[in-house]
């Protein structure tokens, strides 16, 4: 890892707020998103979805649809034979893409059609007759854990009995019972969070084209086109190298576009019709047929001494995963207590199956819910012992050398710095008015790196093409261009960064886990340094001196030593211009497994005003403090902080999947599922802390996810302080706030 470790160098362009390379295309409409690709002869794909929450599929009759004029392909699960071995994550993806014998949730795909136009495709869907036998369903996580609950997936057992509990994880250390026995104060409380969607504005969309020779192409909105290629190739029995996947511009993903939802269906229809097929989800399909986050039910117990020392913490977390097992409860268990240095701590996390859509990652997946429960209880304990909530957290904060509740001992970490920044922030001292309250909370996320591959090519005019393989979800092209410019010593404007398709680079892991800038940044640094070595060799050839006598500085080769003092420096452009005569193209390449991302912390402050008559709340002021390691492009870093906080605000106040007694989703539209709009939000203030990550040459940490973790708890604290009643259920929508007020008043 030595070559990857922090170099503490002085930067020339890193940290500057340069023009966004994708900005003009996005505001003029020139940017091409998932639905913006066209191919000659393309068909329109549509998916038929289950109207039932849980049902046996007795028969699917596609004969009428197949005979309709303009219909070119109709597929069911029979067109997607199981090539996965019948188990594992890819089998679950296969079953989720198209039901195999049982519809597991309202909106589960059961058939699909490719036709010459949209009206024909819709008519064809209506012509497909599906005979269902409805089964008992369960959509609530607590109900799904009951002994008499309907079983979502036969074969799942817990304690030797059929069950919806697919996994139980435990993390912690010490003796929590002994810790509680030492406590002067013990607070125990239960919490619930409802299911939310990432709410990306661009729906899932792709254009698939399979040739009769088995070669295929897929244009798709995704966070990980290499991963999509691998999954689709396995599900369809294709050679990986013969499926070219190109990632479109992405209109938001936040974890929801790390997963394959419908792309194998488009490829299967294209293969059957021998024509390209374009498949675009409607908004209702995005809600029903892609992957929201979990709903949860949680119990937290904290014991503390009167001086604020926590003696024990216990969290019992129940996360619903949809109908397929996932790591979501486990991640909640790992993150729940991560901000604190506790002698006795335990998290017990259950992953539970229900008849809802397959859960997907959502920005620091699972951490916001656990933080909501733990941080809210931290507030209650602080209040009980009469201690300032920031001081109480600082008293117990994790530091370098603290043993994390999920196991390892921390290296250098930034949680204490974010808390001190919050404590000293003017926001904390601002006066509040009537019906107004303030809350604050902390959050943690792991971050990670992974497989990364980058190419850097220098043109004969001295401009640079940088091809990266991680999808740009939030400014990576600007950041990578800055990094290449920094390493090569050239202006930012001389670098053009593109996201390469799967045939142009080696495998790149999906852009998730806040890894894009961390990992592609590392690969770009090393690719640029490789190119600098070539530039030095070419300069040596041009000068006819030994390469050892050449050094690179400020974008030019310099000849070292008094004997070469007559040689004027050769700029990158001058060397590049002569490259055809000195050995051909000049390039740098790097492939790396970028591990050592380092964990990340944030602390937030929030002011809220609540109308006690209506229960409507308004965010008055919001401040994010987060450790970025090193902010390559501060505008984008601030944007990540603000975007994460905005999503957290929606999650905390309004967003909610609403299921009826029939197990059907009641609100699959942005009219009824209320995400925040500009008028709902204040300008979100940010404070970037830069505590270098020792495992990255520039000290970079991931920044994209952590700031969605504190908002639920920070806002709950603010609302609770405004109304004088502790809120324990998100979203804290007006009816829920009113009910809490009325219940507290005994109304």
């Amino acid at each position: 890892m030595a070559e990857q470790s922090y170099t503490d160098q002085e930067f020339k362009v890193i940290g500057s707020r340069v023009r966004r390379p994708d900005g003009i295309d996005k505001v003029t409409g020139r940017a091409r998103y998932g639905a913006d690709a066209f191919a000659p002869g393309q068909l329109v794909g549509r998916i038929l979805r289950s109207p039932h929450a849980h049902a046996k599929i007795k028969k699917i009759d596609t004969s009428r649809a197949e005979k309709m004029k303009g219909v070119k392909a109709v597929i069911t699960c029979d067109d997607l034979p199981d090539l996965t071995g019948g188990r594992g994550p890819n089998y679950d993806i296969l079953v989720n893409c198209m039901a195999r014998g049982t519809a597991l949730y309202h909106g589960h795909a059961v058939a699909a059609v490719a036709a010459v136009d949209e009206p024909t495709a819709r008519k064809a869907l209506k012509a497909i007759k599906v005979e269902y036998k409805t089964l008992p369903h369960v959509t609530d996580v607590d109900a799904a854990m009951a002994e008499d609950a309907p079983i979502v997936q036969p074969g799942v057992e817990h304690d030797g009995k059929p069950s919806n509990i697919v996994n139980v994880s435990q993390f912690g250390h010490g003796d929590v019972e002994a810790g509680f026995a030492e406590a002067d104060v013990i607070i125990e409380k239960s919490y619930k969070t409802e299911q939310t969607h990432q709410g990306y504005i661009e729906p899932h969309a792709c254009l698939a084209s399979m040739g009769p020779d088995g070669d295929g192409e897929l244009w798709v909105t995704t966070q990980g086109h290499f991963t999509f290629r691998t999954v689709c190739a396995q599900l369809l029995g294709l050679d990986i190298a013969k499926l070219k996947v190109t990632s479109s511009e992405i209109g938001g993903g936040f974890g929801g576009k790390t997963h394959v939802w419908m792309e194998p269906l488009a490829l299967a229809m294209s293969r059957k019709a021998n024509r390209p097929v374009k498949l675009v989800m409607g908004r209702d399909e995005v809600f029903m047929g892609s992957g929201p986050t979990c709903s949860t039910s949680m119990d937290v117990k904290i014991g503390a001494k009167k001086d604020g020392t926590i003696t024990a913490g216990l969290a019992t977390l129940r996360y619903q995963d949809g109908p397929f097992p996932g790591p979501w409860g486990m991640l909640g268990g790992m993150t729940a207590w991560a901000c604190y240095d506790l002698p006795n701590v335990q998290a017990v996390a259950y992953d539970v199956l229900v008849n809802r859509p397959k859960v997907a990652a959502y920005r620091a997946p699972s951490a916001p819910m656990a933080a909501f429960a733990v941080e809210s209880t931290m507030d209650l304990v602080a209040d009980k012992i009469g201690m300032d909530p920031v001081d109480f957290r600082l008293k117990n904060v994790a530091k370098e050398g603290s043993k994390a509740a999920y196991g390892p001992t921390y290296g250098p970490i930034g949680i204490e710095a974010t808390l001190n920044a919050v404590k000293n922030h003017p926001h904390m001292k601002a006066k509040l008015g009537k019906n107004q309250g303030r809350g604050m909370a902390c959050g943690f996320w792991f971050n990670f790196g992974g497989q990364t591959c980058t190419d850097l090519n220098i043109g004969t005019d001295g401009t640079v093409n940088l091809t990266m393989g991680t999808v740009d979800v939030g400014g990576a092209r600007a950041s990578m261009s800055l990094i290449a410019a920094e390493e090569l010593g050239i202006p930012y404007e001389k670098v053009k960064c593109n996201v390469g398709d799967t045939s142009s680079l080696g495998h790149n892991d999906t852009t998730e886990g806040s890894r894009g800038t961390f990992s592609s940044g590392m690969a770009t640094i090393f690719a640029a340094r490789a190119a600098v070595e070539v530039l030095k060799q070419r300069a040596a050839l041009m000068w006819e001196i030994d390469v050892e006598d050449v050094e690179w500085e400020d974008g030019a080769a310099h000849a070292k030593g008094i004997e070469h003092s007559n040689l004027a420096p050769l700029t990158l452009a001058e060397i590049a211009k002569k490259s055809p005569q000195t050995g051909g193209p000049i390039a740098g390449h790097n492939e790396v497994v970028a591990d050592g991302a380092g964990v990340s912390f944030a602390s937030h402050i929030c002011d809220v005003e609540v109308d006690p008559e209506t229960g409507k709340s308004k965010i008055l002021r919001y401040t994010v403090v987060q450790d970025a390691g090193k902010a390559i492009h501060p505008d984008y870093v601030e944007g990540q902080f603000q975007g994460a906080a905005a999503q957290g605000i929606g999650w905390a106040l309004n967003e909610e999947y609403v299921y009826g007694e029939d197990g059907r989703l009641q609100n699959p539209s942005f009219l009824d599922y209320r995400i925040p709009v500009c008028s709902d939000l204040p300008f979100i203030d940010t404070e970037i802390l830069e505590i270098p990550n020792p495992n990255h040459p520039y000290g970079i940490r991931g920044v994209g996810e952590t700031s969605i973790v504190p908002p639920l708890a920070a806002i709950a604290g603010a609302v609770s302080n405004a109304v004088g009643v502790r809120l324990d259920h998100t979203p804290m929508s007006p009816p829920r706030i009113l009910k809490a007020i009325h219940d507290a008043n005994g109304a």
């Binding site: 594992g88 790390t258 959502y362 997946p365 999920y406 390892p408 990670f448």
Partner: protein
């Protein structure tokens, strides 16, 4: 000899042990020897594992040297958004 602490998901594959001692100098060797001793680990390996060495979590690197007296945790492979 290094002590490898197992998070809860791995303990069922290691006869309930919270930690095991293994003579290994790299992550690759550690995982191989652990699998030889506990074949039931294979299912967890298929699902993905990460190794924490002195507090740093490594999801993919396998040729990493394990320093003497290092604190080692076997963790589930993480997913992010």
């Amino acid at each position: 000899m290094v002590k490898v602490s197992l998070s809860s998901g791995f303990r069922d594959a290691a006869d309930g042990a919270a930690s095991v001692e293994i003579e290994a100098t790299t992550v690759r060797e550690l995982l191989r020897l652990l699998l030889e001793r506990y074949p039931a680990m294979e299912r967890h390996y298929d699902e993905g594992v990460a190794v924490s060495i002195n507090g740093e979590i490594y999801r993919d690197i396998r040729d990493l040297s394990i320093p003497p007296d290092a604190e080692i945790f076997l963790l589930p492979r993480l997913q992010g958004g």
